[in-house]
Structure formats: C-alpha cells, structure tokens
C-alpha cells in the first residue's frame, strides 16, 4: 500500500515541482553503460534534496528504441536495459518513502510495429487483433491530418506488403496508430493503466493524446471521441485510484488544450506548450508583450486542474504553436546552426539556448516559477548542462547526467566506449566544468541557487494555487504580475532587458502595504497612491510578498 506514505491530497499536483528523467541517462546502477532503475534509486536522495515532488519518467517499457522508447513493444514489461518490473516497484516505493511521487510516460495512441498486437494484426486480418490498428486499402482517407514528423515522414499512411493494406500512423511509420473505435482496444489500454496503478505509480503523462481517433473531414486532432475516452479513463482512476494524476501532452493552442481538462472530469494536468517559446521570444526581444498575450489568450481552467509549465524537455523546443513569422524569428535567434533545428523546433538544452548566461537562466526560472502552473524541470538543467548538436535526432539533449568530474562523468563505471552516449566533454559544458559534485560544494553555484529557489516556491502555495493578474506597465521590457491566494499576495517583477530598467507600477489597490522581497526578506518602501517605482538590474527580477503594514 504505497499511498500510505502520503497524506491524502487530491490536489498535490497543483503545488508540486516536477522533474523529468531520461532513465537511460541518469545513473548506471549495474555498470553496463546505460542508466537503470537501480541507479535511479541511488540518486533519490539527491532529488529529495533538490526539492522534487514528482518524478516524471520517460518511457520505460520494452521497446526497439527507434523513437526513444515511445515505440512500445510490450506495455507490461520494463525495457531490460532499465531493469525489471520488480526494480520499478522498488524504485516507486523508495521514492514514496522520500516523499516523492512518480509518474511515467504512456503512449496510448500507437505501439511499435514490433508489438505482437501489430504483428498479429498484419498477418491475420480476420483474426482477433485484425481490427486493432487503422487499416485502409488506399492512402486517401483523412487527408486533412497534418504530418507531424516532417523531416522523416512523407505521409501518415504506410503500405504493409504482408497484409496488402495501408496502416495509419501520426508519427513514425514504425509506430502504427491503435484503432480506438474498437472497444477491445479501449479496454486493453485501460488494463495497461490498471497494471501500473496497481504497482503504485502516481499517474501518467499521456503522450500524443490528441490523436487517438481519426474522422474524415477533420484534422484528426482533439476529436470529441478522444475526449470521451479520456473521461472514461479519468472515471476509472477516480473510482479506484485516489490521488493519481493524468498529465496530457497536447501540443495545441490553449483554447484547445483546456478541453483536455473537461469540467474537471478529464485530465488533471496539461502542458501549456505555447507559453514556452514566447518566454524565449520575450527574452530575446526584450519585450513582455508575447507573454502577456499568450496568457491573456489562455482560458480559465477548472479549480481542480493545473497547467504543466516547462522551459525545456527531452524533445525539441517546439515551435508548432507560433506563427510562421515568429518561428522564423526563433530560428534566427536560437538556431543559427541549421543542425540545431528538428522538425518544427530547436533541439537544444536550456543553458546553451541562453548562451550559458547565469542571469538569463535565473530569470527564465523566475518567470517560469511565477506563472500559474506547476513547473517541470528537465534533468541536468539544474546544473546548466549543455547539448551536442552533432548527435542525431534528440540525442543531443539526452546525454548522461554529469554527476562528478571523474571518469564517465560519474554516470557509469562501464568502459567509455560502452556508454549509450558519451557525456559532454567540451570546455564550457563538459563534465569537468559542469557537474553535481562541484556545484553542491559551491555555495554560489546554479544548482545551489535552484535548490533555494525551489524551496522558496514551495514555501508559498500561492504560486500553485493563486490567481494570475497581469500588471502591464508602460515599460514593455518589464513582465510584472500579481499572484493572490487567500491572504497571500505576491508581486513578481521581471526585467527582460540586457540593460537596467526602471518601471512604474500601478499598485494603488495595495496602498498602505509593504513589499517584502522574498529571497532576502528585505522590506521596501510602503506602497502609496502614486505609481510604485522600481529599478531592476539587467535581466534582474524581484519577487515581493505584499504585507499589511502592522505585521
């Protein structure tokens, strides 16, 4: 009964800090060159210290790994490189003992072409699994659905010579889409969910969730049938598995994404994709307008739901949810080397995207942490790890975690040549310059700053639960807003510019209150009726708690 480690808290995810882990790249517990669950267990103390509330695991299932494990060949087995189901159970238990929850990626939309279901379906069209995938005699249907992996795929249909028919795939051609019109498929996927929930997992990040159904004359995204099925999944969870969470990956505009919350009866969380590129855009342009605009365009969500917010993740920095013009700007500014582009995005880690600028990294985290939602950190970004754009696909941002300055970055005791990927060795981001051990011992390091900053955010539930009230000033280089929850009022002011800035904020509503800076607890002059003047260092920010004068 792993839930016993926690107090019941159905809304835990609303004030949690998430941390995304690529198991293969985190720590090698059995010296074979690849990260695994034994290794992950070894590093739980570190994650607990960092302040992580919930670990999000990239896919861990058996897979031929032609798409980083998002091509699942058996939903009920752990990939042998990572360990066994028992190792997984032990990991979840150990994480729970340290007060951390665990969610894992689950791909419902498709399987690997190696999955026995698909092999059966193609070889026995009239058999029990003949209808489990989307088959067609022609490649004409559903022509309005866009192709997502533009760089590799020419069509969403691929001909299977064995069955003599085309099969549907929204992603790679080795990832056939399951046919959710078949009730057996719906039930089979519920069984997958139950299996892992019974093992104690705290939820799922549902990969590629908008594409479950296909309908002629539509783009095949966000269809009503998809929402209906997700509501069924949610009802199952609510009835049998309290305190678990469904996190939707729907790379869509906010007005479409909110549909995934339903009326609080669908997904608990969904990623807010469009806000992320706009943070980078605002920083480069020194203009808060794109951020204010996308947040304005974000509809309200049910009280029991939450946005997932991130700066970077295991995929490319996706530019699907921006205009063509904005995309060109982003490429121009952040992907000068064409190798850095992938599909509609930029495959780089946070630190290199920001040219390694410490002020910029801190500022971006401050903005991220100040927004309404739960932040999701990507492993290695807390120490400012770099990337390797010369590696294929998204491997460049999935190199081994840099634990120490020792051999193999302290990631593995295997031979150098045996590692799944070699750790970074360049003079700026290489493991001798950037590693956990050194940063733990250096009080001014990025890691130590992150630790304090995570603790600060967690001290104030207002960041997870409070309102968001934009505070637009005449100086557009300033991104300022108020967060409010019960008695707690927080004012966040961020300077996007490379130069020092002054800003006058209309705080008359709070006249008489005293802003107390939250990191150093310094009291600032009381707010009066006149505009409140603040000066900020280049890329600087202030978070204030507004306090009643008498306290």
């Amino acid at each position: 009964m792993s839930e016993q480690w926690f107090e019941r808290d159905p809304l835990w995810f609303k004030h949690a800090v998430f941390y995304e882990i690529h198991i293969r790249g985190f720590f090698d517990g059995n010296d074979d060159g690849s990260g695994d669950f034994r290794g992950l267990i070894d590093k739980l103390d570190y994650l607990q210290w960092l302040g992580v509330d919930c670990i999000w695991l990239l896919p861990m299932y058996r897979s031929p790994l032609r798409d980083g494990g998002y091509d699942i060949a058996d939903f009920f087995e752990i990939h042998p490189d990572y360990g066994t189901v028992d190792d997984f159970r032990e990991f979840v238990d150990q994480a729970h003992q340290r007060g951390m929850r665990v969610i894992a990626d689950l791909v419902m939309n498709h399987t690997s072409a190696d999955h026995p279901w698909f092999q059966e379906s193609r070889s026995d069209p009239t058999g029990p699994r003949g209808d489990w995938y989307v088959w067609s005699d022609s490649d004409e249907p559903y022509s309005e659905a866009r192709i997502i992996f533009l760089d590799t795929e020419a069509s969403n249909w691929t001909f299977d010579p064995l069955r003599g028919q085309y099969y549907w795939h929204r992603f790679f051609s080795h990832q056939p889409d399951l046919n959710y019109d078949n009730p057996e498929v719906q039930e089979a996927m519920l069984n997958v969910l139950r299996f892992w929930l019974d093992l104690g997992i705290d939820g799922f990040r549902l990969d590629a969730v908008p594409y479950l159904y296909e309908r002629e004359g539509t783009n095949g995204e966000n269809l009503p049938e998809t929402h209906e099925y997700l509501k069924r999944v949610r009802a199952e969870i609510d009835s049998r598995y309290p305190d678990r969470v469904l996190l939707a990956e729907a790379n869509q505009w906010p007005e479409d994404v909110v549909e995934y919350f339903g009326d609080g009866d669908e997904c608990h969380m969904a990623f807010h994709f469009p806000v992320m590129p706009r943070m980078f855009m605002s920083l480069r342009r020194e203009d808060a307008t794109p951020m204010y605009e996308i947040l304005e365009r974000t509809p309200p969500i049910p009280d029991s739901a939450q946005w997932g917010l991130f700066l970077r993740n295991h995929d490319e920095l996706t530019l699907e949810m921006v205009t063509d013009e904005e995309r060109d700007y982003m490429y121009e500014e952040y992907a000068k080397d064409p190798r850095m582009k992938l599909n509609l995005g930029i495959r780089r880690r946070l630190a290199p995207l920001l040219d390694g600028g410490r002020d910029e990294i801190e500022l971006m985290h401050a903005i991220l942490f100040s927004l309404p939602g739960s932040p999701v950190l990507y492993y290695g970004d807390e120490i400012g790890m770099g990337d390797n754009v010369y590696l294929g696909d998204r491997d460049g941002v999935r190199t081994p975690m840099q634990w120490t300055g020792d051999r193999n970055a302290g990631f593995s005791r295997a031979d150098w040549a045996q590692l799944y990927l070699q750790p970074l060795m360049d003079p700026v981001y290489g493991y001798q310059a950037v590693n956990v051990e050194a940063q733990l011992r250096t009080p001014t390091s990025l890691l130590r700053w992150m630790h304090r900053f995570i603790a600060l955010r967690k001290e104030h539930p207002v960041f997870g639960l409070g309102t968001y009230e934009p505070l637009r000033a005449e100086n557009t280089k300033i991104f300022a807003h108020i967060r409010r929850w019960e008695e707690d009022i927080v004012l966040c002011v961020h300077n996007l510019a490379r130069s020092a800035q002054a800003v006058e904020l209309d705080l008359s509503e709070y006249a008489g209150m005293v802003p107390e800076e939250m990191l150093g607890r310094t009291r600032f002059p009381a707010i009066g009726e006149l505009p409140y003047l603040l000066t900020l260092a280049p890329r600087g920010f202030f978070w204030f708690q507004l306090k009643a004068t008498e306290s």
Binding site: M1, Q4, W5, E7, R8, D9, P10, L11, D42, K43, D45, Y46, W49, Q97, R98, G99, W403, T404, G410, V436, E437, L440, R441, P443, R448, H451, R452, G520, R521
Partner: protein, 441 residues
C-alpha cells in the same frame, strides 16, 4: 456502545496527543472496531479516521469503555491490553486484525498487575506504568508501518544488546485501512536516574565520577552502533554505503542552514557577540571540513541521542526512546544515517549539561570539564565501535563529527533564539569552538 461523530471529534481534538491543532476537521469515521473484552466492563479498540477540510486525514487509536469515548485512563482497560499480549491473542475486526504478541522469556508478564498509573502524556501517545515494573505505551496518531522504537528494540533484543529496557510485548493492526504498531510493553526502570539529572547532580558533587561514567556511556554507545551495523542479512539494518554525493548534500544542507540562521541573527544581543558577523567564517570552516573525506557507512541509529535519553541504573547505562526525532515522519526516522550523528548529539548535550549546571544548579562545571567529557566519551566509543562503520582514519572521523556538531549547534541556535534566550550562549559557544577548532583538523 456507539458514540456520535461530533462527540468523538470533540474528544480527540481536545487531547494533548492530537497532532493537527490548526486544522478544521470535516468529519470522522470508525474504520475498524475490535472487541477487546466482551464481558463487563466491555472495551472496544477502534481506529478512527479524522478527515480534514483539506482532504487530508489522520487515523487515531481509541479504546472505548462502556461510557467513555476513551477508557485508557481506567487501569482495567490498560490491563486488558497487557493480558491480550500475554495470551498472544489475535482479534479479528471487519477490515483486518489486531495481533498481540509477547517476547518469550520476559519475566514481567508472568504476574498479575495490581496498580496502574498514567505518566506524562506525550505528543503522540499515552503511557501507563504498572506496579513500577512495566510501562505500556499506546500510540494515538497512527503512522503506517512498523514503529521504529519497536523495530529497534526487537533488533537490539534479538542481537543481545543488554543496555535497554527489555521489550515485553506489543500489539499491531494489519488490514485494509493501514498496517501499524498500536502499542509497546516494556520493562519500567524504576530505580534509574535520568542521565541529564545525573549529569547536573554530579557536575556539582563529583565531576570526576561522572567523567568515568561517560567513558562507560561511550562504550555502550559504541556497542550499540556495532550491533546495529552487524546484520548483513536484514535489509532494514544492513549497513549501506552512501551515494557519492551524500557528503555534498550534507554540506549543502548545513551551509544553507548556517546562511539563513546568520541572516536572521539579531544584532543587538550581547550573547551573540562571539559569533556575530562571522557567518561567512563558519561557512568557510564547513567548506574546509568537507573539502575531502568520506562519510563512512550508513546504519540505523538512535536518531535523537542525548543525555536525556539515558538512565543510569544499577551501575550501568540504559538507553531509552528509539523513536527518533518525533517531528520527522516514520519513514524518515527509519532512514540509515552515519552513526556519528548520534555521537554528535551526545557531545552537544555535554555542552548543555556544563552550562545547565551553572544556570539551574548555580554550580558551574569545573574548568575544562566539557572537553574532558568529550574525550572520555569518545575514547570509550572508539574502543568498542566497529570502526569500519566510520570514515577511515581519525582525521576523517573528527571532521565528519565536527560537521554534524555544527549542524546541531546551528539548529540549537535557531531554537534557543526563538524559545529560550538564556540558553543562547550554549550554541554560541559551540559554534565559536567549531570555528576555532576546525582549522586544526
């Protein structure tokens, strides 16, 4: 008999052992009910869930009497629990069962219990003493899993550690709502003198005598750690090698604590003068102490070790209270840690005793007493402890010990500033000592 929901809530929330004073209770529910005694006077053991408005919940143990919501004040009810242990009963409930167990060969169970009195109600339990020979501790707010005190006492008993109050029995629930230890029965050391009291007394009367006793306490502590780290076959006790960054994590944690405590130090307090403005110096010392070196092995430890957790009885020490720090969650208290954490806790309590003798008994400890106390204790400790559990080499031991002492002293400083200003000089002296001494190790 059944009690209505509101009167149960009213009763529980009034008790000292009620742990969630600031929370609004939404409702309560009886999760399990087990008949403890079916003839008059009837007693029923109940697990009651209090659900708070936030959605969180706690489970409490109550022993209903005929008329009372909780009848544990009645010696008859407490006696009933001991009888059940003696007979090794298993009582079925609707969702699970309560198992009562006795320790074979425990003499105290063989006789009738006459007198019972309740002793100082603590935060999370109710304790009763029978005939000055047995003590029954009934846990109120239940936490899942085995209680660390029971687990430690059983392990130490089975592995032949003699310096504890012998374990007589226990009872535990396992079933749908949770599995948890409900109560423990132990020998009551009636003629024991509390180690803290003894220290204050002998610092005044016979400081030399107490130093020899401390050497013995060091030996007992070393034996305790050796035994706690001796069983490779028990995963709950098997010594572990901490991960490579454990020293770094410890350093970072202590460093941030120092930074934040010094940031908030009042500037107008004379008692703080020796350390005022020296926060950066303290942090620098910490860096020197942790610059290199290892952390040794992690084992199960006492967890909250100081003179107040010992008794001196019949010429030897008895170690008490293996619960760990009450403020921490059970899982956290069961975590393995360096045994030097316990040692540091004890050394800090010598510093407290030296000054308390002056503050409370008006007899200052002789010059250099604390230093000698430390030496005696450490000599005894290092004589008996399995040194493979410690960092290798005397210097590495001294350094890690200094880090743990610093951690404790900084915690004490924060605590005393908030709670007992007249005691502030103790952690101040401790920190000052560590600044000056650290440079030499």
């Amino acid at each position: 008999m059944a009690f209505d929901e509101q009167s149960v809530i009213d009763f529980v929330t009034r008790q000292r052992w009620y742990g969630a004073k600031s929370r609004a209770v939404a409702h309560s529910e009886v999760l399990e009910s087990v008949e403890l005694r079916t003839t008059e006077p009837r007693f029923t053991l109940e697990l009651v869930e209090l659900r708070y408005e936030t959605g969180a919940h706690d489970i409490y143990q109550l022993v209903h009497g005929e008329e009372e919501i909780d009848g544990l004040d009645d010696p008859a009810a407490a006696r009933e629990l001991v009888h059940a242990m003696r007979s090794g009963l298993t009582l079925q409930g609707s969702e699970g069962s309560v198992e009562f167990r006795r320790v074979e060969g425990f003499a105290g169970l063989g006789r009738e219990l006459a007198e019972a009195r309740s002793v100082g109600a603590e935060q999370s339990n109710t304790s009763l003493v029978f005939d000055d020979e047995l003590i029954l501790k009934v846990f109120r707010r239940l936490e899942p899993g085995i209680n660390p005190e029971l687990e430690m006492l059983r392990f130490l008993t089975e592995h032949g550690f003699a310096n504890i109050a012998a374990l007589g029995g226990w009872y535990a629930y396992s079933g749908g709502p949770m599995s948890a230890t409900l109560g423990i029965l132990q020998q009551y050391v009636s003629d024991g003198l509390d180690g803290w009291e003894l220290a204050l007394q002998e610092i005044a009367d016979d400081p030399e005598q107490f130093l020899t006793r401390l050497r013995r306490l060091g030996e007992v502590t070393g034996e305790m750690h050796t035994i706690l780290g001796s069983d490779l076959s028990d995963p709950c006790f098997c010594p572990e090698t901490p991960s490579v960054e454990s020293l770094g994590l410890l350093t970072a944690t202590v460093d941030e604590e120092i930074e934040s405590v010094f940031l908030a130090l009042p500037e107008d307090d004379d008692r703080l003068e020796p350390i005022l403005g020296r926060g950066e110096e303290v942090r620098e010392q910490l860096r020197l102490l942790t610059h290199s070196g290892s952390i040794g092995k992690a084992i199960r430890t006492h967890g909250d070790y100081h003179l107040g957790q010992t008794l001196f009885s019949d010429g030897d020490w008895v170690i008490l209270d293996f619960e760990g720090e009450p403020a921490r969650a059970v899982v956290d208290r069961r975590r393995k840690r360096s045994p030097l954490r316990d040692v540091a806790g004890m050394l800090r309590s010598f510093a407290y005793a030296a000054i308390a003798a002056e503050l409370e008994r008006s007899t200052p400890a002789p010059e250099g007493w604390e230093e000698q106390a430390r030496e005696q204790f450490l000599e005894g400790y290092l004589d008996t402890v399995d040194t493979s559990l410690l960092p290798s080499g005397g210097i590495a031991i001294d350094r890690l010990l200094a880090v743990f002492e610093l951690e404790k002293a900084v915690y004490e400083l924060r605590y005393e500033l908030d709670n007992r200003p007249e005691w502030v000089r103790i952690p101040v002296a401790g920190i000052q000592r560590l600044i000056e001494q650290a440079a030499t190790i």
